[in-house]
């Protein structure tokens, strides 16, 4: 699906062993900042369009990384944007020529990074394209716009480079871990990059430079299409939608088995965002099961066995809908409806009320991994990994989009707040997707997986988990980043 191997005129690339082959990657770090002027050759001005979490993080990281160069980072906002005040607080100002109208900033920049919302991209990309100066490069941080252009029968404008650097984590993590990089070289969020159009041969090094400047521990190659699919599917599955369905269904299950609300919350939501995520982040997927006693392993295996098939069925359905464009049409239809009727919130169910108390008593004791919850969560993660592998995504994309983004970025934030807060504060595309698919996981697990968990575990499925190639890929990826504290206060 993608050309995973490539060359750079600027950066020292490495070869990473992945199941069935190798991928060419760039290990990041601040020692590479001296190479940035060469990577950004021909770019005097970078325009970051938009000031959401991703826009803010990228504008700040780029400015900090390029402080010793003569490259200017400017922020472009739509007229009357409520974000202008926050951008000024962070030192982007009209006076210094680093804050302005989005079309003006786009017109003046050599690299125009589009970080506005998907809905704004759909509505305004043609206006922005029309203002670009000759040879200006279009930068994206995910493939959504390509999906939209294809659905509408359009394409990017000729004569412009089109590149993407896609951090595999939320904007808040991109900034927070970058700041840790001042002490721990290489701390950050991994990114994929894609070269969609390269009229003058600059695109690969420009994308790699952008990724290094964001603080990516390592950067791997993908295509816009592969990125788009894995990104949109991932947020509907293990990154967001499935997590919500998992914790809702498990909470109800523990409550019905007699647990009080706080205990049920600890065994479900708190367990996923806390001990399970931490264990995977520190020691990988096998460690979750290996940390259990033998009774716990039996429960884990039964839960894993019962969950895998319905999880895989759902991930395959999501993948089909995303690849076909159906999911994107649904998002556009929903955006239109939301004009008339605001999106309802989902954090008012009884479960979330227990969360406050659970968070308050965290200091008192360390929560153990709950075997049933761990089996359900791990099986869902493996189902997504298997679907992505079957669809020929590069292994770096698979592990970043299925495991690392979850345990190093999203779950720590969910742990600090709660899952409902996260779902209601993500991009609209992600929110709408989580709202469509979270309930599907919830129902399928309540109606199919949990009743089936009374049956004995399937040994061949457990052997497949034990010997799964993802463990090798994940461990290769883990070697490329320094150990950092992922917790969020």
């Amino acid at each position: 699906m993608t050309s995973k191997n490539y060359t750079s005129r600027v950066f020292p690339l490495e070869t990473m062993a992945v199941p069935g082959g190798t991928e060419t990657i760039l290990r990041g770090g601040r020692h590479l900042f001296t190479l940035l002027p060469e990577a950004f050759a021909g770019v005097r001005r970078i325009g970051v369009i938009g000031w959401g979490p991703q826009g803010r993080a990228q504008a700040l990281n780029l400015r900090d990384s390029l402080v010793d160069t003569d490259i200017t980072v400017a922020v472009g906002l739509r007229p009357g944007s409520a974000s202008a005040a926050d951008a000024r607080t962070h030192g982007f100002t009209e006076e210094s020529g680093t804050l302005g109208d989005w079309l003006t900033v786009a017109a003046e920049s050599d690299l125009v990074i589009l970080l506005i919302s998907d809905a704004a991209l759909v509505a305004h990309h043609q206006e922005i394209f029309a203002t670009l100066k000759p040879r200006a490069v279009i930068g994206l941080s995910h493939g959504f716009l390509l999906g939209h252009l294809r659905t509408a029968g359009n394409d990017f404008p000729d004569g412009h480079g089109v590149i993407a650097v896609c951090p595999k984590g939320m904007g808040n993590s991109v900034r927070r871990l970058y700041e840790q990089g001042a002490q721990i070289n290489g701390a950050g969020i991994n990114s994929s990059f894609a070269v969609h159009a390269d009229p003058d041969g600059r695109a690969t090094d420009l994308a790699l430079g952008w990724s290094v400047a964001l603080g990516s521990p390592y950067t791997f190659r993908t295509t816009l299409e592969s990125e788009y699919r894995s990104d949109i599917v991932g947020e509907r599955a293990i990154l967001l939608g499935a997590v919500h369905g998992i914790v809702e269904s498990l909470y109800t299950r523990y409550r019905l088995a007699g647990d009080d609300p706080v205990t049920a919350y600890e065994k479900s939501c708190e367990n996923v965002t806390g001990p399970i995520a931490r264990t995977i982040s520190r020691a990988g997927l096998l460690a979750v099961r290996e940390g259990l006693d033998s009774a716990g392993r039996e429960v884990f295996d039964c839960a894993y066995t019962a969950t895998y098939a319905p999880a895989r069925e759902l991930v395959a359905e999501i993948y089909d809908e995303v690849a076909d464009g159906t999911e994107l049409r649904s998002v556009v239809l929903a955006e239109r409806r939301l004009g008339a009727r605001p999106m309802s919130e989902i954090g008012r169910s009884p479960m979330w009320a227990a969360g406050t108390e659970v968070r308050a008593r965290r200091a008192a004791r360390e929560l153990p991994v709950e075997p049933f919850t761990a089996g359900v969560f791990t099986a869902t993660m493996i189902a997504q990994i298997d679907e992505f592998a079957e669809r020929s995504h590069p292994w770096s994309e698979i592990v970043n989009e299925s495991v690392i983004e979850a345990v190093d970025s999203l779950l720590p934030y969910m742990h600090a707040r709660d899952v409902a807060y996260m779902v209601d504060n993500c991009s609209r595309t992600a929110r709408l997707g989580a709202r469509r698919w979270g309930p599907r996981f919830q129902s399928a697990y309540e109606q199919i997986a949990y009743p089936a968990s009374e049956l004995p575990a399937n040994e061949s499925l457990m052997r497949a988990f034990d010997t799964h190639p993802v463990h090798e890929a994940l461990s290769a990826a883990a070697k490329l980043r320094p150990s950092v504290d992922i917790s969020v206060s």
Copy 2:
């Protein structure tokens, strides 16, 4: 959206008062059978293609109604069809020339009624069209094929009449109530009809004749598009998908409040399919609330108030997806996936286990209407009605597709079996739709509606229910059918 008024050269039409105007309808009954030869002028042979529940019911009703004419009803099946034995048992045989290969039967018939599955229609409609003799009329029982042809950029073949008669009930009900018609003239399932192409002016009377022969108590006019939308939306909402979501979420709610499984089942599933459906069928929607004591009404009002908004939001979303074609694309994608992996069943959740015991003790006592359940169910029904009214469907279509089909056909069958059985035994299009949308209702109700039901009722919403135009439309429709026993043993 539709021309609700029209004329007939054969049948005595009536005018029915509906909110804001009138609709022209045909009241059915066996006294009209003498007019059938005139309505079927030019038709010597009717080919019913397919022997699912709808194919069987229509072939049998048509043959019985046309027994005194020289019109032959033949059944066409795909080669090697497993249904041939059952068709022979019902008297359709190769020897008598009333059973044969579907393409042969289609080629020999003057009216070709396509009652094969949606997936088979998608795969084989072009072959069937190619065999039609000149001037043969194409008959449909819902608008799915039009939706598919539009999505694929195709149309029906020129020179052929295209009509639809769409019974607003399951095939089993179409047959069972027709049989009651021998004692109680006019018993049956209401139908809509549509004339999509009418090259020689025969179409309206042919469609009306077909409907009379099926035993429709009354027949109203729609368009294929309007029928398609309301049919597909309805089965995803109050007819099937929403019912499943409602009973799952209510069962959990009652269980969590301390009820044992049997009581929780009686208050949720059993209540909807039993006393609530019966009350609406016999006395209309207001009667559900009026039958409660004042404490019960308060509970009903709080549940209704809390449910209406999330229900309306979901029905609007379903309607958008169906009208846009997105839902249909999802069905096609799912059919493709099902080639590799069978659809999982949904009737294994703990709730259904309680159903057996509940059904066993039915005789012992009459179950009262549960106010909370009634408020949730009624609000969902009204949400669908309001969405259909806003989208300008004819009132006959609205009440048949939102109320009458539910309480006179589907819910009595769900009562005799259970909701999961029904969901897993409907058409694939309906099953897939219920599986997509049922969980959305479940989650929205658990997370949004039920927590909001702790708040006081919204008086203006309850006034709107009290004075809703649907009550007038429903009572006008009720006058057009004799009182029959809808229970299924």
